[in-house]
């Protein structure tokens, strides 16, 4: 199955600001997502990496329309989701689903697994009675669980199994597009591999498109066709995953890749780390010019004054950097 080149999701100049209020007056804004554009083609997986606080999850939630975007367009199959309200969104909720980070907090502890998976079927009136039960069993089977798990409660399952339940719930409405918000970071290494393999199998079986968010760079590379690197509310580099790992162009991407622990003692002792000093600046008052300029080792005067634009340096490889 080769990904066909039809765009499924086009995000254009998306912004999401959160107001900071002082009483009733709005004092300033947290610019969590500040002008992000990218395209995901049908059947493709796009990875999204960046440090915590860079706006990855906010962006995922804005695309899901759990938040109302401040500005910009979210084109899904050519329809702009950004301006829709309330029940207008319902048909799209069926087509875009999400898998959450924390398999412990994202399942309702008072509902049986069958009801958790079946809830979406009820809401969208997809099945009832016997058909509903057989659908739930089929979904559980698809993610490697047993049908009799349907009558149990989430606390009876391990972390990896719970994440499988979360995936079954996302698959229940047969979506086209699934946003995975750090689906494996809470799991053990051996279980991570199980979940990643399963996501890949499901993709080729059902023709799914993924947006895969993570801060673990090793796994992202394994699952993604292309990868976007985010820093302080902006994308700084997008490239297909091979190019990004082989020849990263943005200093932040380079630092991020060199910080990756290498599970090989001989290579680890040889490799040189580019350490980024300090912490990420606050998104309330981001630096003028390039946002990475405060921590960048190649910084020069232009970087401080002028914000770099995203430009294409080779086919499909976009970088926002002056140097």
């Amino acid at each position: 199955m080769g990904p066909n080149k039809e765009p499924l999701l086009e995000v254009k100049n998306l912004r999401k600001y959160f107001p900071i209020k002082d009483g009733l007056a709005i004092k300033s804004y947290i610019k969590a997502v500040d002008g992000v554009s990218f395209t995901i083609n049908q059947g493709e997986t796009m990875g999204l990496v960046g440090e915590s606080g860079c706006g990855k999850s906010t962006m995922a939630r804005t695309i899901m329309r759990l938040y109302k975007p401040t500005d910009g367009e979210i084109c899904f199959h050519g329809n702009n989701l950004a301006t829709l309200k309330g029940s207008q969104l319902l048909p799209y909720r069926k087509r875009i689903q999400m898998i959450f980070q924390d398999p412990y907090a994202s399942l309702n502890g008072r509902m049986t697994v069958g009801d958790i998976v079946g809830e979406a079927l009820d809401i969208h009136k997809l099945a009832s009675g016997k058909a509903r039960i057989s659908m739930i069993h089929e979904l559980l089977h698809k993610v490697g669980l047993e049908p009799d798990h349907a009558i149990r409660y989430p606390h009876e399952f391990s972390g990896g199994q719970r994440q499988r339940i979360g995936i079954a719930r996302a698959l229940a409405v047969s979506p086209d597009f699934i946003i995975c918000d750090e689906p494996i970071s809470a799991l053990d290494v051996s279980i991570q591999a199980q979940i990643v393999n399963m996501l890949k199998d499901l993709q080729s079986e059902l023709g799914l498109t993924y947006l895969f968010i993570a801060h673990d760079l090793t796994m992202v590379r394994h699952i993604s066709d292309k990868i976007g690197v985010m820093y302080l509310g902006k994308l700084v580099e997008i490239a297909d995953s091979k190019t990004l790992y082989k020849s990263p162009r943005h200093p932040y991407t380079q630092a991020l890749l060199s910080a990756m622990p290498i599970p090989d003692p001989r290579l680890a002792s040889k490799s040189r780390r580019i350490l980024i000093e300090g912490d990420m600046p606050s998104p309330i008052d981001p630096p003028l010019g390039c946002r990475f300029s405060t921590r960048c080792q190649y910084v020069h005067s232009q970087c401080v004054q002028e914000e770099p634009k995203m430009r294409e340096i080779s086919s499909g490889h976009h970088v926002a950097c002056h140097t």
């Binding site: 440090e51 915590s52 391990s158 972390g159 990896g160 199994q161 053990d188 290494v189 051996s190 279980i191 991570q192 591999a193 199980q194 990643v196 393999n197 890949k200 801060h215 673990d216 760079l217 090793t218 796994m219 590379r221 394994h222 630092a255 991020l256 060199s258 910080a259 990756m260 622990p261 290498i262 599970p263 090989d264 003692p265 001989r266 290579l267 680890a268 780390r273 350490l275 980024i276 000093e277 912490d279």
Partner: protein, 341 residues
């Protein structure tokens, strides 16, 4: 290599819960030399953290050490009174916990908390303790320490708080530092900073470090020896070279295989270890890894294998190493791991 400063011999720890005895540690032995860093790796529930808590004698009810010996600098820690343990904790053995947010007290300034540790173990005035605290802040790379001392934990970022914890743990210059997943909750860039810091401190202060983690990449960066744990037993122990390039236990091999490699190809599948770790309440008689092991034999079901010594400082608990057993091919030849050489 320096003297042995800590030695565990056949340590057994259990939790006596109302539904039965949970055998968290089932007889483990290892040691650590002065100035050495060893890694303990394993999945959650394998007993890594309980090992650390047992050494510190910080087990909470219903946990209990039911057998074995912990020798620290020639003295048996299990025979110490609560008072004596308090003198050792923080002063000679220090611990860094995984979650830096919950291990700092939110209602006291960080300066206050670090000075408290220093005053507890040294007979010096508050003023001198403050000077020492400022030094510690500088050591772990926190800028403008005088100002930072008066701030509360919530004013620090995750990486900064973890630095603080390390600073606090090192403030009495302990001989042994136990770090329980010190970088798990942090970003890779901050993780790299913390690892560099620990490496540097090991060199400068000659501290021994026990690093508990599930990330083999972190171990490769810092440690010279690795202990692999699985459901309360040490499955394999060896030098970092032996574990990474010449591992003899199917579990260690599985762990290594489930990390994506650099020479990955588009459609390559990750090799995962199927199944989940066993329930510690009803442990099987045989090898706990047997249900997930693709090399399992009849005997693995009935009996736990003894330790087999492969060479000096490399041992593994697997029946496949018995003279009469069919051998497993070492899946990873030297240097093959990243396929680059």
């Amino acid at each position: 290599m320096g003297e042995k400063i800590l030695e565990l011999r056949d340590l057994k720890t259990s939790y006596f819960t109302h539904i039965g005895e949970v055998k968290a540690i089932r007889g483990i032995s290892f040691h650590i030399h002065r100035g050495e860093a060893i890694g303990i790796v394993g999945e959650s529930g394998s007993g890594k953290s309980v090992t650390a808590l047992s050494i510190m004698r910080l087990l909470q009810h219903p946990g209990k050490i039911i057998g074995g010996q912990i020798t620290f600098k020639g003295k048996n820690l299990l025979q110490k009174s609560i008072k004596e343990m308090q003198c050792i904790r923080g002063n000679e053995i220090s611990m860094i916990f995984q979650d830096s947010m919950t291990s700092l007290n939110p209602v006291f300034t960080v300066g206050n908390q670090i000075i408290e540790v220093i005053l507890q173990h040294h007979k010096i005035s508050k003023k001198e303790a403050k000077v020492k605290a400022v030094e510690m802040f500088k050591l772990v790379g926190i800028s403008s320490p005088e100002k930072r001392m008066n701030q509360y934990p919530h004013e620090f970022s995750g990486g900064m708080r973890q630095r603080l914890m390390i600073g606090m743990a090192l403030s009495c210059e302990p001989t042994l530092l136990i770090a329980d997943e010190p970088t798990t909750a942090l970003d890779v860039t901050i993780q790299a900073q913390i690892l560099e810091l620990m490496k540097d401190l090991k060199k400068r202060l000659d501290t021994s470090i026990i690093l508990i983690t599930h990330d083999l990449g972190v171990v490769a960066a810092l440690c010279s020896r690795v202990v692999v744990m699985y459901s309360g037993l040490i499955m394999e122990e060896g030098s970092i070279e032996n574990i990474f390039y010449n591992s003899k236990h199917p579990y260690t091999q599985g762990l290594l295989k489930s990390i994506p490699k650099a020479n990955w190809k588009d459609k390559d599948k990750l090799i995962s270890i199927e199944g989940t770790p066993p329930d510690l309440l009803g442990l099987p008689d045989g090898c706990p890894f047997m249900p997930r092991c693709s090399y399992a034999m009849e005997i693995c079901k009935r009996e736990q294998s003894p330790d087999f010594e492969i060479e000096e400082n490399h041992r593994s608990m697997c029946w496949r190493l018995h003279d009469e057993a069919p051998k497993i091919e070492t899946w990873m030849k030297r240097g093959d791991f990243h396929g680059t050489k």
